[in-house]
């Protein structure tokens, strides 16, 4: 199934058709036209193209067109043979270091490294001289010219897979080195290897034609395209067709292999990466005075997948709001939509998506860059590792606020101090790797403070940090909110983190807000069965060690799996027929409290 993605691109489809034709020719041509290609006609020596002989005849009067067709088998067969030998040798040389003792492995690796330094065709010529002229010599020459790059590729891919946990797990289970290689490593690197082998076949084909053309490949009476080309070239000024025919065949076949390999590689890359672009469409709606107003926000992806399905909430000035949900609940995408960072092919729609009373899609980047700050989960990947921290901070002010270089640098130091980074002047001159994780996250927040943010969106800002550092970062967010009266939207999977810091909590499940309530009421008045189950499921330092932890059966639905009814119904102890057929809307339950549950009136056992 996955292989078929190659055929979806025009290049892939065209090259696949060409390859099929070539293979069919290789199999059938000698059977169908072998006799005609070998037939000597002394009445028609060295003729030009005619109706009888499309590409003319050679010095023995044999039809060149049929000879080209018949030569397909030998040409492609030898190219594939050379590729197979080269790839297998490369594979062995590339993977044995992981099985050999260390000193032997080092010798093999060094040998490969040296061989890689020589250009392939040069190696082929070198080997051709060593092995002597002739078919076998040429096949081995080309095979060994392919070997080093393949050995290197295998080494690199093997190294990248070897670091994964499943290899360590298999080793712990007592799986031997050889089996580790054949069962775990090779299957996981097969795809790029196959793609590269296809590309190598294309170059082997042209290289082989080259050797035969030079007279050190296939010898008479055998003939391949390279040999036919060489023979035709002698009289190219008299009659170009006998040379052009095999030349075109070489080009077409080489292209077919290379383009097929490229298309397969492109398909492979597409599966591992997603493209980027930011389309966002919004229509304005009446403003109700919040700093951030989100009404009926949807984020969807092609294929009818809608991970955010109608989210509405308001953030007021200086408020700290927590968004809680599990992975796949849509919380992070909601944050990305608010900061206009949803990547292509995702589309964002909303009845209203307004920041400071203005539709977000009409807010200029510069304004958004200074008034809205975003803090991501992993501070390691948020900084450019090659630039000093201070410089990365000051660039924000140079770009967004038009500050001069000196003023911006001074501001950067000031902001680093504001997030309690000791010795901010010295630290500003350091690179990201010289900062600890917690320090980097603080620097990230400092970067957000280079503008005058009215809203800080923090997406799992403490998840990658240790507990002691986590507390510092949360305190810092609380301080910023107090000192600058900036609003904070804190997104977390950890309900205890949110409970400690926020004024209000939004609980998300399957792309919707299922409950919104003040934090004070979280442990006493939560009404949605999902909220209460979450609170019970997470152990803290007061959990009863004697009893099993509360468990929510099943798992959250994937965005593509949401059907009719309440998405939590399959896991909910209170669910009845109505829950399974109708999805409840988020409705007012009391002042500042909204719940999306048909059973919110039902008395639930208190959380604690």
């Amino acid at each position: 199934m996955r292989r078929l993605t190659v055929l979806r691109s025009p290049v892939g489809a065209a090259s696949a058709v060409l390859l099929t034709v070539l293979l069919a020719l290789a199999i059938l041509a000698p059977v169908l036209w072998g006799d005609r290609a070998a037939a000597i006609d002394t009445d028609a020596l060295q003729q030009g193209p005619s109706a009888d002989h499309l590409l003319g005849t050679d010095q023995l009067g044999r039809d060149i067109f049929f000879r080209v067709l018949v030569a397909t088998r030998l040409t492609i067969g030898l190219a594939l043979l050379a590729t197979v030998i080269g790839v297998v040798t490369g594979l062995v040389l590339g993977s044995v270091p992981s099985v050999l003792p260390r000193w032997a492995a080092r010798i093999v690796i060094s040998g490969v490294n040296i061989a890689v330094a020589f250009p392939g065709l040069l190696l082929a010529l070198f080997f051709a001289v060593i092995f002597g002229t002739g078919t076998i010599g040429a096949v081995l020459a080309i095979a060994f010219a392919i070997t080093p790059s393949f050995a290197r590729l295998t080494q690199t891919l093997t190294a990248s897979v070897s670091g994964r946990d499943f290899i360590a797990a298999a080793r712990v289970c007592g799986v031997g080195r050889f089996r580790l290689l054949t069962r775990h490593v090779l299957p996981n690197i097969a795809e790029p290897l196959v793609i590269n082998a296809t590309l190598a076949a294309g170059s082997a084909l042209t290289a082989f034609a080259g050797l035969s053309f030079l007279g050190i490949g296939v010898q008479a009476p055998s003939y391949d395209w390279g040999r036919l080309l060489g023979e035709g070239l002698n009289r190219i000024y008299i009659s170009p067709a006998p040379a052009l025919g095999p030349a075109i065949a070489v080009v077409l076949a080489g292209l077919a292999f290379n383009l097929f390999g490229e298309a397969a590689a492109a398909g492979h890359r597409q599966r591992s990466h997603r493209a980027t672009a930011v389309p966002a469409t919004t229509s304005s709606a009446p403003d109700d005075g919040g700093l951030l107003t989100v009404r009926n926000l949807h984020v969807s992806f092609p294929g009818g997948i809608t991970p955010v399905r109608g989210v509405s909430f308001t953030v007021h000035n200086g408020e700290m709001i927590g968004v809680v949900g599990e992975s796949g609940s849509g919380k992070s995408l909601t944050a990305l939509a608010v900061s206009r960072l949803v990547e292509h092919p995702g589309t964002v729609t909303a009845d209203a998506l307004e920041f400071g009373g203005k539709p977000l899609d009409r807010t200029p980047d510069r304004e958004l860059g200074t008034r809205l700050a975003m803090v991501f989960q992993d501070p390691t990947t948020s900084f450019n590792p090659t630039k000093r921290i201070g410089r990365q901070l000051s660039e924000v002010s140079e770009v967004h606020q038009g500050l001069g270089r000196v003023a911006a640098a001074r501001k950067a130091v000031d902001r680093l101090g504001a997030v309690r980074i000791p010795e901010p002047e010295r630290r500003a001159k350091q690179y990201p790797h010289e900062f600890s994780g917690g320090m980097r996250q603080r620097a990230m927040i400092a970067m957000g403070l280079m503008g005058e943010p009215q809203l800080v969106i923090a997406d799992e800002p403490t998840t990658a940090l240790d507990v002691t550092v986590q507390r510092e970062v949360l305190k810092l967010l609380a301080t910023i909110r107090e000192d600058r009266s900036a609003a904070v939207l804190l997104i977390s999977h950890d309900i205890t983190v949110v409970a400690q810091t926020c004024d209000r909590v939004l609980v998300m499940y399957a792309g919707r807000i299922v409950e919104e309530l003040p934090t004070d009421e979280l442990f006493t008045a939560a009404r949605h069965p999902y909220t209460t189950a979450l609170l019970k499921a997470v152990p803290d330092l007061d959990t009863d060690r004697g009893a099993p932890l509360a468990v929510i059966p099943g798992r959250p639905p994937e965005p593509g799996e949401i059907g009719r009814g309440c998405p939590f119904a399959p896991r909910c102890p209170l669910a009845d027929d109505q829950c399974r057929t109708e999805e409840p809307e988020l409705t007012d339950f009391g002042p500042d409290h909204r719940v999306a549950c048909w059973k919110s009136e039902t008395e639930l056992a208190g959380v604690r």
Binding site: A169, D466, R481, F523, V538, L541, I552, R555
Partner: protein
């Protein structure tokens, strides 16, 4: 009985000492929780116990087989191998693999009919159960659990913790349970060891360590652990 004993274990990477003269005993049939920050050497210590890393100095003694469950169930299972084969691979020779796979899947509350499924068809929580089943397939006496719930969603984490506790009691396993989350460690452990900068700074029965912490770093960890009814104020 099946103890796991680390004696003066030191692991160095070049000039960096990841584990610094650690002596620690996991008594037979008990769970020792190992807490500490990332980079404190917890996982390196675990790697020495299963032979993934050789200690620079000191030695490790285990009675019976040691198996390990890894942190990230998304990378600890071979994506190209069915879960049944992954589990069967760890079994000793001569086992009736099919029956044993079914039994183990049942033991971790998974449908034995799914043995032929690839990991991609499973959720994170289910994958971690498969990883547990694979660890048990080698009939270990000692199991090392390295941050096994930190990659899981909270609603799934509880089920895995319950399972770990049940299995440990049912099979009488000795277990080294590593986590940065003190609340999780507290829930499963009989004893708690606190690690900082490669050293064990405190070790003792769980109740004592939590109620009467002796080392300043343990107190710091306890203070930082989130509690339900305390609010974090701006500093």
């Amino acid at each position: 009985m099946s103890e796991l004993v680390f004696t003066n274990v030191t692991v160095r990477f070049g000039h960096h000492t990841a584990v610094d003269d650690v002596s620690l005993t996991v008594p037979a049939g008990q769970v020792v929780g190992l807490v500490g920050e990332s980079g404190s050497g917890k996982s390196t210590l675990a790697a020495t116990a299963v032979g993934l890393r050789k200690p620079t100095e000191g030695h490790i003694r285990a009675d019976g087989k040691v198996q390990m469950v890894f942190q990230d169930p998304y990378s600890s299972l071979d994506p190209r191998m069915s879960i049944g084969n992954s589990i069967a691979e760890a079994m000793p020779r001569g086992t009736d693999k099919k029956a044993e796979v079914a039994r183990l899947l049942e033991l971790v509350h998974l449908d034995p009919g799914r043995a032929s499924a690839l990991p991609a068809r499973l959720s994170g929580g289910q994958r971690q159960r498969v990883a547990l089943a694979r660890a048990l397939a080698g009939r270990p006496r000692v199991v090392i659990a390295d941050e096994i719930t930190s990659a899981l969603d909270v609603s799934v984490q509880g089920a895995v913790l319950n399972l770990v506790r049940d299995l440990q009691r049912q099979l009488g396993l000795s277990m080294l349970f590593i986590s940065h989350n003190l609340a999780v460690v507290r829930y499963v452990s009989d004893r708690i060891a606190v690690m900082k900068a490669g050293r064990i700074v405190e070790e003792g029965p769980a109740g004592e360590v939590l109620e009467d912490p002796q080392h300043e770093y343990t107190r710091e960890l306890l203070a930082a652990a989130p509690r339900r009814h305390t609010r974090l104020e701006a500093s």
